[in-house]
Amino acid sequence: MTREWQLRVNDQKTWIRDQDAGFELNEPDAYALEEALRLKEKHGGEVVACCAGPARATQVIREALARGADRAIHVEADALATADASVIADALAAAIKDEAVDLVLTGLQSDDQGFGQVGVILAEKLGMPHATIIMEVQQGDGGLLRVKRELEGGWFQWVALPMPALLTIQSGINQLRYATLKGIMAAKKKEIRKVTPPAAAPAQRITSLYFPEKGKKTQMLAGSPAEAAKELVKRLREEARAL
C-alpha cells in the first residue's frame, strides 16, 4: 500500500478498504531486490523476482523486472492479500522449491502486516539455513556466505552459513536504484510465470481492525501555522519549561 494513502477500514472492520488504496513495493523488499541485483552484478547469475499476491501484484512484479530482475514468478490468489505469514510462506515455497536457487532474499518485514516472519518460515520450509536483519553480504571462506546482522542498540555481528541460504534484508543495506525507461521497456518482454498456491488453512484470523485509542495526554494545538507555533512556543517556555 502506498505511504501517502489515508488508511480506511472496511465495513466488516477486518481489513482496509483496499479497493481505494494504491499499492507499491514494500520498502524492505525493495532493498532485498537491490541487493540481489548488486550480487548478480558482482558474481553473475540470474535474479528471479517472486511475489505471492492477488492479480494487482503484477504491477509490483513489473517494477522489479524494470529495475533489472531477469524473470519473475507470480503466485497468484486473491486470498494472499490478507493471508497470514505461514500461508504466504507456503505459497512462496511451492513456487521456489524446484528452482535451483543459491540464495533467497526477502525484506525483513512488510510495511502492511509487519509479521516479520515470512522469510524465516520460508527458509524452514525450503530446508535452508537463514540469517536475519542483514546489512552486508560477502563471500566467506570455504564456500560459505558471510553476512553482517544488525543487533539492537548499534551492535552488529558477522555470521557465516552454507548456501543455499535465505537472508532477510534490512533497509539501508544499499542505495536503491530506480527503473529507467529502457528498463521499463525491457520488462515488457520478460517472463512472468504464474503459479497457483497450495490450498491453505489459515491459523490466524483478524477479528477486528481499528485505529488505536488516542492517549489522552496529547494537547493538540489548533489554528493557523502561526497561531499554533506561537501557542507551542509559549507552552514550551511556560508550561513545560523545555526552552
Binding site: 518460515i121 539455513p129 548499534g154
Partner: protein, 317 residues
Amino acid sequence: MILVIAEHRDGKLNRATLETIAAAQAASAQASGPVKAAVLGSGVDTVAAEVAAADLAEVIAVDDAALKDYTADGFVLALQALIDAEKPDRVFLPHTYQTRDFAPALAARLNRPLITDCVAVKDGAYVRPMFQGKLQADVAVEGAHLATFQIGAYRADAMKAGGAPAAVRKAAIAIDASRIRQRPEQPFKEAKQAVDLSQAERIVSVGRGIKAQEHLQLAQQLAQAMGAEIAASRPICDAGWLPMDRQIGSSGQTVAPRLYVALGISGAIQHLVGMKGARTIVAVNKDPEAPIFEIADYGIAGDLFEVVPAMIAELNK
C-alpha cells in the same frame, strides 16, 4: 501452561524478559494455568536464578555447550525438543531481534502459529499493530501457539515476584551441534559514534516527511533557534541524508532529552523505543492519525513546511 523464553547476553538478563513474564502472568490470570520460564545457553545458573525470582511455577534451564553463542538453528533444535517434552499450549517471547531470528522457524517446525509484536492479550485474542502502527488488529488463533510481545507493551515492574524463588530444573535435552549451520562471530559496535545524542538537552528530529535532503536546512534552522541537536528516523539515515549516528531508535541511539521535536515522523515502534523517554515530546505531522500523536505532549497537525518556519519566526522574536 504458558512457557516464557528468557533472553540474556553474557549472563545479563534482557529486561524485555520481565515484561514478557508480566504478559504471561496477566494472560494466565484470564485463562488460568501455570506460567513457567525457560533459560537457554551454556552456564546459565545465575540467569536462571535471577528469572526464578518471578512468580513462576518453575524455571527450566537448557544448558548445553552448543548454545554458548546464539544461533537460530541451535535455539530451534533446543526449543523444539523442550516444547515437545513440556507441551505448553502457549509460548511467549519478547519481540527482540534475537526472537525475530528464530521464533518463526521454531513455529514452522512445530507447526504452530506465531503471532508477532503483540501489545496486549484480551480474552484469548492478541492485539497487534499493523500498517506501521497506524492500525491495530485483534487476532484470534486456534490451538497451541507462540506469541511475541512488543518491548514496553507490558511493564517490567508489573511483573509479580514470587514469595520464594521458583524451583530451577535442568532439562534433559542434548543438542546435536553438527546440525547447527550458522557460525557466528563475536558481536561488535561500529567505529565510535561521533555524536553522543544521549547527552543532548534538546533534539529536533526529522523523518521522511521532510521529503528531500535540501529541506534538512529548515530543520537545522529550527534546531539552531532552540539550541538543539539534529537527529532523524531511519529512512533519513538510510538515504544517506544524515550520518547513521544521528539515527534514533531500536537500531540507533536511545535518547532522553528535555525536549524532543519530531518533524514528519510517523511514530513507528522502532523509532519510539529510542525517544519515548524524552520529558517533553512535540510532534508536527500532517496526518492527524499518525501514531506519534499517541505519545506526544504537544501536537500540531499540519504541514511542517508551514509550521516550522512559523516556529522559527516565533522563537527568534
